[in-house]
């Protein structure tokens, strides 16, 4: 289990906010942890996929997209805040994330 420091948490949040601001062409200041990804930003599952890929590479994570998919089915993500929390859990637990379900 990886140790997720405060620095990593801040970094994850920064990347997620920047990502959705870029992809959805909105000002970063308009996004908050409560922002709904689909309803407020018109986001989609492919964006989610791309974001996961970024984190996989950045933190050299050993986790399959399918595993994340299974976790997400049981723990649906709707808001930016939920997505950040899930990403931190993925970095922390990688393929063992399903043990949390």
């Amino acid at each position: 289990m990886a140790l997720v420091t405060e620095r990593i948490k801040t970094e994850v949040k920064e990347i997620v906010y920047d990502f959705f601001a870029d992809e959805c062409e909105v000002n970063k200041s308009e996004i908050s942890d409560q922002t709904n990804i689909i309803n407020d930003l018109d986001g989609d599952s492919l964006m989610f996929l791309e974001l996961i890929e970024i984190f996989k590479k950045k933190y050299a994570l050993e986790i399959e997209l399918k595993t994340i998919g299974k976790y997400a089915i049981k723990n649906p993500v709707e808001t930016i805040g939920q997505l950040i929390d899930m990403q931190i859990l993925i970095i922390e637990h990688e393929n063992r994330i399903l043990e949390l379900v």
Binding site: I15, D18, F19, D22, E23, L46, L49, E50, E53, I54, K57, K58, L65, K66
Partner: protein
């Protein structure tokens, strides 16, 4: 986007000889393929249609490259290299130095054939032309005696990063050397593949067609409705419903595909009721999700159905599930034997295709 520089050496492997890759088409498959291949050390030429908003595609590409830089996935030099070495254009002449071109344009035979005829005159003699068609055999796209050995099918599944399977379809004219180059290319992108001759092309879609067809016959026999079948299938067999799938793909695309798949089947009459239904829907402009109506209706994009009849009994549900499960297993066995693929290959291919945990032979 991956570190381009660090992977350059593997690109120079003597066996590869595919370094410059062209993608034609800016639909969801073309876009997915472009960004997927961008992760690997190929030089990309993405050719969009004249109607495409090139500025928008450039902007998206630039944003993604900049993001890779900002998140530390690539450094400034790599970022600049990616930007300088990638071409996004509506001019097919940009394909002139390609080793491989993959077309992902609309599923229309004439369009694809005309495209290949045009590209044939632009690309080098040894360039491989691949079609991502899901129903048109590559030999139908032959353009000239010299080029034909270099025309193959390369059938990716959407979304490409998630589907670890590619169907490589070769023709009677495909030399071993061309197959090897393409197999090497696919392996380099980390994908599994199955090699199929044209008699067994698009085997995964054909397999699913058997299930779709039998599901439709159950509805025709008034043993269940579309939504009852879909509810059963999506909760017990696959992650999606049979008729949901067809509505999502598009009724017109489904009709063209089913006709292509069954055209040389000795028992094609067995599929005729489904073909007739698809034809009626298409004629009525009910093209599925994209037109707002198909097997289901989608007011404001949300699926609805008008089923108000009583629920199926447990016995009826079991009977239907047993029937469709048998179709699934039998079709899996038959197509595995026909194709010459190994059981392991087919298990993997089928699991990836349907997005399921266990294959038919596990």
């Amino acid at each position: 986007m991956k570190n381009n520089q660090s992977q350059k050496s593997s690109c120079q492997d003597p066996g590869s000889r595919i370094q410059i890759v062209g993608i034609v088409g800016e639909g969801k498959m073309g876009t997915s393929l472009f960004y997927f291949l961008l992760e690997f050390p190929f030089l990309l030429r993405w050719i969009c249609s004249p109607e495409a908003d090139l500025e928008k595609f450039h902007k998206t590409f630039t944003i993604k490259a900049l993001r890779s830089l900002k998140t530390g996935l690539i450094d400034q030099q790599e970022h600049d290299e990616i930007l300088n070495s990638t071409i996004i254009s509506s001019d097919p002449e940009q394909l002139k130095d390609c080793d491989l071109v993959i077309e992902t344009i609309n599923e229309e035979f004439e369009l694809k054939r005309n495209l290949f005829s045009r590209i044939d005159k632009i690309v080098p003699a040894s360039c491989i032309l691949a079609s991502n068609s899901s129903s048109i055999n590559p030999s139908r796209l032959f353009v000239s005696e010299a080029r034909d050995p270099f025309i193959i099918g390369l059938h990716y599944f959407y979304p490409i990063p998630l589907k670890d399977i590619v169907e490589l379809i070769y023709t009677e004219k495909t030399p071993v050397e061309v197959r090897s180059r393409v197999e090497y290319f696919i392996r380099k992108t980390g994908k599994h593949f199955i090699s199929l001759n044209e008699s067994n092309s698009f085997i995964l879609n054909r397999l699913f067609l058997d299930i779709q067809n039998d599901a439709f016959r159950i509805v025709e026999q008034k043993k269940a409705t579309f939504s009852q079948i879909d509810d059963l299938v999506s909760s017990r067999l696959f992650p999606f419903g049979v008729f949901d799938f067809m509505d999502n793909v598009g009724i017109d695309t489904m009709l063209a595909s089913v006709k292509n798949y069954t055209s040389d089947y000795p028992h094609k009459d067995y599929y005729q009721p489904l073909i007739d239904k698809l034809y009626r829907l298409e004629k009525a402009g009910k093209l599925g999700l994209k037109s707002g109506e198909g097997f289901y209706t989608y007011p404001e994009g949300i699926k609805t159905h008008a089923d108000s009849e009583k629920a199926l009994s447990e016995t009826e549900e079991k009977e239907i599930l047993d029937y469709l499960s048998n179709t699934y297993i039998n079709a899996s066995k038959r197509f595995t034997m026909q194709s010459g693929c190994t059981i392991d290959e087919m298990n993997h291919a089928i699991k990836e295709y349907f997005g399921i945990e266990k294959g038919p032979f596990e």
